[in-house]
Amino acid sequence: MSNATAAQQPAGPARVPSLSVRRKQSLRKRLAHGFGPLLWIGPATGLIAFVVLWPVVVMIRTSFQRVSSFGAIRGNNGWKNFTNLFDELAFKGVVERTVIWVVAVVALTMLISLALAQLFNQSFPGRRITRWALIAPWAASVLMTAIVFKWMLTPGYGLINILLHDVGLLKNLNSVSADPLGKATTAMPWLIFVAIFVSLPFTTYTILAGHATIPGDVYEAARVDGSSRWHTYRTITLPLLRPALTVATLINVMNVFNSFPIIWAMTHGQPGYSTTTTTVFMYILKGKDLGESAAMSVVNFGLVIIIVGMFLKISRWKAEVE
């Protein structure tokens, strides 16, 4: 994108007269066809309205309706769906687990990505090909990655189990400890591991893009001043990476909070509800009571709105389009 902005600059001065000419033209045009803009942005707006906005309305409406187990609407239900949801025995645990899930995955992803970006920002032979390998979990469907990890953790012959057995960390390939996804205490850490695994590429690439915005002479100056490497990193690199770090954190929070395929493919939220997050809980409820599931969605959506608000505040989208 850097070459795109560079191409714009030389055209700057020559632009002024032609702009006014164009303004006049477009003004005349707008008077002639009052709906000019609608012709261009109308289809996009329509698609967003139909696929994104209307479902929100339907979802909120459903959360106040009584829905039979066959999906038929049986009239108004007031706040009953919400009180039913909050009274679910599993609800408190599900919410707590969601907080742990999001905080653990995002925090660890950010920390590891900072280190990875530091490494891949150096120039070394083979950088291109190794950076290329890094994108695999990003491009591949999260579902496929989750299924492979489930397969590698299969008791008896899963590859991770075999490797753990070969190095002596696992005594018996067919014991209970060879089935980490079947146990509440070990299932969640493995799910968190896979979620971090698929979040690292995007995050590392975002931080690498952040590194690219730091001019080299800043480091030159720090070196002349005799600043130590760690001191330079803390006082120069990290503060200048802040925009990249905040954007990456927010996008990750959104992705991890809405993450469904990893948990669904690997554990279905089981054993019990021990690996169920609010998103998975919404899906499980959908099969039992659509109204209550809608109530869970509305609660989830509230959080989504907060994250979007924060993203809008920190993103430089306005400067970008003006």
Binding site: A44, W151, P201, V321
Partner: protein, 291 residues
Amino acid sequence: MATLTAELPATATRPAKKRQTRPTWKTVVIVVAAYLIAFFFIFPYLDMIITALRPQSELRSTSILPHHYTWSSFATLWQTGLGTNLKITLMVAGGATLLVLLVATPAAYFTARYKFRGRLAFLLLVLVTQMFQPTAMLVGIYREFLSFHLLNSVWALILVNAGFNMAFAIWILNAYFSSIPKELEEAAMVEGSSKMGALFRVTLPLAAPGVVTALIFTFIAAWNEFIVALTLTQTPDKQPLTVAINGFIGAYNIEWQHLFAASVIATIPVIVLFALIERKVISGLTAGSIK
């Protein structure tokens, strides 16, 4: 030209070779670490390929690598009906990509070229949808398509995938269109080209890298989509590959070799495609906040 290229290596290799023969310890550590990390990230996909190539008799063996390799899982894959699911995936991803380009290109062009009332509101709407994910409003999507009798239909999946991935295309294309000077279009119009002609013959070709990025990104996103398809499709003959592969797991007797042959088909093409646009994706995903 021929003499130039013949001469170049002779002069160029010597200093390069000198650098290569004496790598510093720091470089060695970095290279080793980078290759180990690279291996770590492709490791699951290597196991996916190896499992797909394992003969059925060795599926439950405890050797890390199989003793024999066979393509038979790929050959028998089509008897399981997965060809239909692959066709559905292609239709959904292709349809969504086409729809996104048809809808996003004019919107991106107009917002890049003209200031009009409602422009910022429109771009804000686009940005908000970019952050939204269908998972968060799944119940609403399900009820809406139920009421339109569009469950179990390819059209529903095309619409949802297009709607949720259009934002990325609009951001990328908007940035490209704004970077192309208007003067180029005006010059074409002076030479007798119509406004539309100038757009199609001058601006769009110059924005081609942006169009390709948007195209590949949408295609991959729709190709990989799982939860909406899982919710909106009901019969195996209407399900895309992701849902069909997930269905293997629930089966009484999991056919792992077919599952992984299908996974390879579902995974490897998109990794290769993604490598083509890797450099441009971040600016689109962060709405130009970092570039």
